[in-house]
């Protein structure tokens, strides 16, 4: 179909012009989102979007918002955070210093969740968190740590269900319909632009949390990303995925063992 070809060409153009590589993203959802973008942005065709973005770089962030899905919540899937708290952190406790990578961190919901979790468990001060994403606006939002107040009720409920040891309200101040999370929660967080598609390993990690990012990749691309995680993890390091993701279809599956069944938390086997 013509539209499929136009999408192919647009993705190729984005790659050649801006080095954003969506060529191996799961096509069905990219297509839905681009058709939605075309309607919302008022273009007659996908090719018209391509023409515009090639000549007008200010169009790029708007397009990125359609190409990257930003849906997230703090303590999304509370049972995952509960499992980290109860099963993984006891192991991490044995290290004098820790590195944690939150890959595809969106506007920071997952970053603040982990920061609070580590603080509640007394591990925050010996940890460095790397929070990465390819969407610059999401990263900028993550760095400010401000969320609309109407999202806080859900966050609070999730935090409680995750086994939270304090009240979420201890960590933010509310004003003008917004909740601003405490600066100290990001004093040990490094935010940076990093793509699982095109960039390389950058440090040795004890825990990598990459949730609901790889569902947007095709299988070869998932394998690339999992390969990065495999190389990044220390011996016996942990990898947490989204609740509907698994290593089952990955070429790297043998390098990992299931650590918490049902929560998609894996452990790197001995190197």
């Amino acid at each position: 179909m013509t539209e499929d070809l136009e999408i192919e060409l647009l993705l190729e153009a984005l790659h050649q012009r801006y080095h954003y590589d969506f060529r191996h993203y799961a096509r069905a959802s990219i297509k839905r989102r681009l058709i939605h973008a075309r309607g919302q942005l008022g273009f007659p065709t996908i090719s018209a979007i391509q023409d515009r973005v090639l000549h007008d770089p200010s169009m790029l962030p708007r397009l990125l918002d359609y190409l990257t899905v930003q849906v997230s919540d703090m303590f999304r899937d509370p049972s995952y955070f509960k499992a980290l708290r109860e099963k993984v952190l006891p192991h991490l406790r044995t290290y004098p210093s820790l590195k944690v990578w939150i890959a595809g961190c969106s506007a920071g919901e997952e970053v603040y969740s982990l920061a609070i979790l580590f603080r509640e468990e007394g591990l925050y001060d010996r940890t460095i968190f790397y929070a990465t994403d390819i969407n610059p606006e999401a990263l900028a939002a993550a760095e400010t740590g401000v969320f609309p107040l109407d999202r806080i009720r859900k966050f609070t409920e999730n935090h409680r269900k995750s086994g939270g040891k304090s009240s979420l309200s201890d960590y933010y101040t509310a004003a003008y319909g917004r909740a601003a999370f405490d600066k100290s929660l990001r004093s040990r967080v490094v935010f940076s632009d990093h793509s699982l598609v095109t960039d390389a390993v950058f440090a040795e990690m004890h825990l990598i949390s990459c949730r609901n990012v790889m569902i947007y990749f095709d299988r070869p691309l998932q394998d690339r990303a999992i390969g990065l995680f495999r190389e990044s993890l220390t011996r016996n390091g942990f990898l947490g995925l989204g609740s509907k993701e698994s290593l089952r279809f990955s070429a790297h599956a043998p390098a990992f063992s299931e650590f918490v069944a049902g929560e998609k938390i894996y452990q790197r086997r001995e190197r």
Partner: protein, 191 residues
């Protein structure tokens, strides 16, 4: 009804879904050979109890769809709660947490439109009972791609809004009551 051999079935249902599915899916023969992709609107944050329930009554395998899973015949794949279920053109399943479509995630439109892309005329789309408009655009996409569009007869449906909306978007869809849908699907089985 059509000359093209059918390769897959997509079903969407909302309010009243469980009763309707229990009237259709258990009727399928054990040697039913097509994949069935199902979106039911279920509240998020709720463990999906539907798969075990259906499995206890059905003769073919029932499972929650997994991301990147190859689609196999003779199995019923349910969209997990809070994820859209999509079909890739290589006929594998993909999940996504894109925004709600028609206030729903999973969305019937999202499944049907991607399945219509992947299967073209080899797809049957079935819209069952429901109190919203999800699935109407999807069913039209199925029809436009040359597939077979079926809508539960609104007069017998538990909730009529969804079948009516589907018929409005896709007037050439065939209406059938639940029993007729069950026997039609059963007849597609062993190709």
């Amino acid at each position: 009804m059509t000359e093209t051999p059918i390769k897959a079935v997509a079903i969407g249902a909302s309010a009243g879904a469980v009763q309707a599915l229990l009237a259709i899916l258990p009727a399928l023969p054990a040697r039913f050979s097509l994949p069935i992709l199902v979106v039911v609107h279920v509240p998020p944050d709720r463990d999906n109890a539907l798969a075990p329930l259906l499995q206890s009554k059905c003769r073919i395998a029932v499972k929650e769809a997994e991301d990147k899973e190859p689609i196999e015949g003779g199995a019923i794949y349910l969209a997990p709660s809070d994820y859209h279920l999509l079909v890739e053109t290589q006929r594998t399943l993909a999940l996504s947490t894109d925004e709600l479509v028609n206030y729903s995630r999973p969305s019937i439109d999202a499944l049907f439109e991607s399945a219509a892309d992947a299967y073209g005329p080899e797809l049957v789309g079935v819209i069952l009972t429901g109190a919203n408009h999800d699935g109407a655009a999807g069913l039209k996409a199925v029809k436009d791609a040359g597939g077979v569009a079926i809508v539960e007869d609104p007069t017998g449906a538990y909730a009529t809004a969804m079948p009516l909306a589907a018929l409005e978007a896709c007037p050439s869809a065939i209406t059938m009551n639940i029993d007729a849908i069950a026997s039609y699907l059963s007849s597609l089985g062993p190709a």
